[in-house]
Amino acid sequence: MSTCFDDPDPEAPKAVSMLPEPYVVVSRNQETADTFTIALRPADGGVMRSFAPGQFNMLYAFGTGESAISISGSPEDGGVLVHTIRRVGAVTSALDRLAPGSVVGLRGPFGSPWPMQQVRGRDLVFVAGGIGLAPLRPAILQVFSHRADYGRIVILAGARSPADVIFHDELHSWMQEPDTEVQLTVDRADADWHHHVGVVTTLIPRARFDPANAVAMVCGPEIMMRFTAVEMARIGLPEARIFVTLERNMKCAVGLCGHCQFGPEFICRDGPVFRHDRIRHWFSHREV
């Protein structure tokens, strides 16, 4: 098995459409005060497109606008497309107001996925910050439904406070999985919190996995991903085995408009999942 990986799977299903299709909100779950999960199904009852973990859709709140939102459900759940969204502005607030039965426009799936095929047999380390757990969740669910294909699983999740931890119950159920380590940390807590307090990168040297065989998948704010790569290097996990997912404001999502350009890459077309060594250079340029 090589120690280096190609860029994420070029074969992942990709839509090219600029035309949103109507999807119905079939359920809605409030994760935290500002974050919610909605499950969507085609309004015409038609067949849903398949997707690969790490890909995203463009969700259109009619009359307000479109936002890029990662798919947070299982790629093997053919019934619904699940998205977990943090309310930050106009579009995400409009999506927040949608009750079950409402209709949204959807284009997708777009973008590069996590390299699930290439990492078979490896220890996998998922590092998530805040809402960053959402794009990692399909990969984690896929691993648990094909558990024998992967080595040890480590999930390190950081949030601002205990009340901001998304997928709380699921994280606790993953703690019971064999050969799996789940560590939660928050920036501040009261005395009722029994997990870690501190930034998520401090969990890396404590986690038990084999850096010589592991692959890391990281999603969170860019500064967190940079420090994660530094910590991984310290324990001997090379950059070519670290994958990160990037976010930039997006319009067309099909590599035409240039809104999401990041150095020489278009995040919608070449990402959002990148091998860290391919984009590290651009991470350090604030203007990019």
Partner: protein, 159 residues
């Protein structure tokens, strides 16, 4: 005591790549401690006469919250070192230290170690190197924590 503790002390990451003579000096100031979950191990403002090398369990650094109750600031686990106030005047704890779970640790007597540092500058320098690294790591982690990483906009602000 040093003769019995030394072999297990050596297994703690704090002693990695440390010379035998240095380990022997420290082990003369070490004792085994155990705290049950919830125990207040050190209180802010009281003399910091020891520091801890955690063997197993979780310790939390806490402060009274301005809003009432307690704010948990950072936690430390197996293999971590907790406490540098023993090395810096006025040698008082800067926070409360509480066992979150049952904790097994080595307590190192700070006064004993300070005396050895004064008498043996080479040993003192070795301690300073190890503890300045610890302080730098804590400072960097605290800075990241202060940035409120996960709740700001995901996008950098582009002028």
């Amino acid at each position: 005591m040093s003769t019995t503790l030394e072999p297990i002390l050596r297994k703690h990451p704090f002693f990695a790549e440390m010379e035998d003579a240095t380990i022997q000096l420290i082990s003369g100031c070490a004792k085994n401690v155990r705290y049950r979950a919830g125990k207040l191990v050190a209180k802010q403002g009281t003399p910091a006469d020891e520091f801890f090398l955690i063997r197993e369990g979780r310790l939390a650094m806490e402060m009274p919250s301005p809003l009432g109750g307690t704010q948990r600031l950072q936690t430390a686990d197996d293999g971590d070192v907790v406490g540098w106030s023993w090395l810096v005047p006025p040698y008082h704890w800067h926070f409360d230290l509480r066992a979150v779970s049952e904790v097994r640790a080595f307590s190192i007597d700070g006064r004993c170690l300070r005396n050895k540092c004064e008498n043996d500058p080479r040993f003192g320098y070795e301690m300073m190197k190890r503890f300045s690294t610890l302080m730098a790591d804590r400072l960097e982690a605290t800075r990241l924590q202060l940035m409120d990483l996960y709740c700001g906009p995901a996008l950098p602000t582009i002028p």
